[in-house]
């Protein structure tokens, strides 16, 4: 015991180094945690979280009785599933194509350009999307539909187009990031496999099927599992900025994160949105733990913990 204390004393400069970050984490991440009890209280603005009276599960009952609960769950999980599947497939396809390009210069240009959307904030992207979809003078209405002799579409008031628009925007923003990641993995595959396959007369398609994909399969599985672990969390910017906070689109654009934000800032429905937030945190936590357990089974090296 004594020697242990002495050892800890010897390391005090290292503990001191960690102090600022530990304090920040404590304030930013741990102090708000007991605040989740707000979901079980009737929020009273004067009294704050801990002075508000407990009301049991009422907030949850109201939340799940409303039709919003179903809509935000469906949107959050549904969009995430589409993003995971389409995002992965497209990113791998682009990565494989990139690896096959012979010309060094074109390869460099492609790599550089497809990463640009990833660097830009969702606000800026909402301006870009607006340039295409604005009803009065947007590119699609004035340059494409008008020239085809079709009527203008009021994009920000027509829910039916938005699932497609949101998927495209998400894909557009993230495809560079994901494909560069897979690209790095594919070029790290031992070249001798491909040479051997070629000697055996395997075509390009067979090489992709039997060498490339199996080689990156563990990574695909792990990244997919990790994304599934985060399926309760949506990209707030995507669902808030891109549809321009349009009320008529809420059916197809409202997710847990935007619902919580609106409850807090716009509709002043703090009880229900706190309930939605807690629901998100708890289910999200269970999913991450489960995903990690599965990853551990598949490949212990890649597990987060």
């Amino acid at each position: 015991m004594k020697s242990k204390m002495r050892k800890i004393r010897r390391y005090w400069p290292l503990y001191l180094m960690m102090l600022p970050a530990c304090i920040y984490i404590f304030i930013n991440n741990y102090v708000p945690l007991p605040g989740v009890s707000l979901a079980f209280r009737q929020y009273n603005f004067q009294k704050g979280i801990y002075g508000s009276p407990f009301i049991g599960l009422k907030n949850f009952k109201f939340l799940f009785a409303s039709k919003d609960a179903w809509i935000i769950m469906r949107n959050t999980i549904g969009y995430n599933l589409i993003f995971i599947v389409l995002g992965t497939v497209c990113a791998i396809a682009v990565a494989i194509l990139l690896c096959e390009i012979r010309s060094k210069i074109s390869k460099k240009i492609y790599q550089t350009c497809i990463l640009i959307p990833y660097l830009v904030s969702m606000v800026i992207i909402s301006y870009l999307v607006f340039a295409f979809l604005s009803e009065g003078n947007g590119y699609i209405n004035t340059q494409i539909l008008a020239k085809l002799g079709m009527n203008k579409i009021s994009w920000y008031n027509e829910p039916k187009y938005w699932p497609v628009i949101l998927v495209i925007v998400n894909l557009w923003k993230n495809i560079g990031y994901n494909s560069i990641m897979y690209y790095a993995m594919i070029i790290a595959i031992d070249k001798t496999y491909y040479e051997a396959a070629r000697v055996d007369g395997a075509g390009r398609w067979q090489q992709i099927l039997h060498i490339t994909l199996p080689a990156i399969k563990p990574t695909i599985v792990i990244l997919t599992l990790m994304s599934v672990g985060r399926i309760m969390y949506s990209d707030f910017g995507l669902f808030y900025q891109i549809p321009m906070n349009s009320g008529t689109l809420l059916d197809v654009t409202n997710t847990i994160d935007t619902y919580v934000y609106r409850g807090l800032m716009q509709t002043n429905n703090i009880g229900m949105s706190a309930a939605a937030g807690v629901y998100q945190s708890v289910v999200g936590f269970i999913l991450v733990i489960t995903a990690n357990l599965i990853v551990k089974k598949v490949d212990p090296e890649s597990a987060l913990f």
Binding site: A21, P32, M122, N137, G203, G277
Partner: protein, 293 residues
């Protein structure tokens, strides 16, 4: 090699070239709109080349003592200060965590790691920052909540330290009587330049692009960064649409289309200019993060 190699190369290039155009074209639409006259925009709509070339949007933005230059200086200031503070804390946290001989290092690692698994969500944080710390409408709102430390970056840097900096060097320095602080500054940091650059870049991008903190905590427009300014302009436009009858007075405050697009362009311009210089580090950040968090 293959009989149909030429055809394959052609189609592979075609697909990737189309993708490249899709990634770049929307920015051209924005830039073109910012250099168009307002009348051309309302008559012809957005086009990839200005129908009537016009610099009035930029003249307006740079002549008016107004919001833009102020927002620019807020963005730059917050990005620089935030990145420096974040880097210092990240380095100071990740280096001890990388020392296998540090007693209790797993406890600290878990303390950090748990924040990635569970969080209280927006509402408890919002109430804490506004009621207890009163950061609404202060510059701290843009600097502190969520952005000052990122657990992923700490783990990434710790992994780099453990894998690339040999324990023997640290041991040798210790035997020579060097203090822990000296070891970190003189031995470890010079060897960690690539990872520091990568983390600095990711953090800097995070600060420059952040609009959420501004959306949550700011209503005083003298503190708006570029991204927050753009967000608030959009919200005002939404508001006019939703209450179109009474919108006349607010309408006067809304910048014209070309001015808005010019602000958005100026908001991405620094990133686009710096991109060729930091691309290498960005790619490194992406690939390192992919292999292991």
């Amino acid at each position: 090699m293959y009989k149909n190699e030429k055809i394959f190369q052609f189609f592979a290039n075609l697909i990737l070239a189309l993708l490249t155009i899709c990634c770049v074209a929307p920015f051209l639409l924005m830039i073109s709109a910012s250099f168009s006259s307002e009348s051309a925009l309302s008559v012809y709509g957005y086009t990839f080349w200005p129908k009537e070339f016009d610099l009035s949007a930029y003249k307006y933005l740079f002549s008016s003592t107004g919001a833009l230059l102020k927002a620019y200086s807020v963005s730059i200031g917050v990005t620089v200060v935030g990145t420096v503070l974040n880097l210092i804390m990240t380095i100071l946290m990740s280096y001890p965590l990388s020392r296998k001989d540090l007693p209790g290092r797993n406890i600290f690692a878990f303390y950090l790691f748990f924040t990635m698994l569970f969080n209280g969500g927006l509402i408890p944080s919002y109430i804490m920052w506004t009621r207890n710390f009163h950061i609404q409408n202060t510059i701290w709102a843009l600097l502190i909540p969520n952005l000052l430390l990122n657990a992923y970056n700490v783990i990434m840097m710790r992994t780099y330290f453990t894998s690339s900096i040999p324990m023997e060097i640290i041991e040798a320095a210790k035997i020579d009587g060097a203090r822990e602080g000296t070891i970190l500054v003189k031995c470890v940091l010079p060897m960690a330049k690539p990872i520091i650059a990568t983390v600095a870049l990711l953090v800097g991008l995070g600060y420059w692009n952040d609009w959420m903190n501004g959306l949550y905590y700011l209503s005083d427009d003298s503190l708006y960064s570029i991204q927050v300014l753009l967000t608030k302009i959009m919200r005002n436009i939404d508001m006019i649409k939703q209450t179109s009858a009474s919108g006349v007075s607010v309408m006067a405050q809304i910048p014209s289309t070309s001015v808005r697009m010019a602000i958005a362009f100026l908001g991405v311009l620094p990133i686009l200019i710096a991109y060729p210089f930091f691309q290498k580090f960005l790619v490194k950040g992406i690939t390192v993060g992919a292999v292991k968090g």
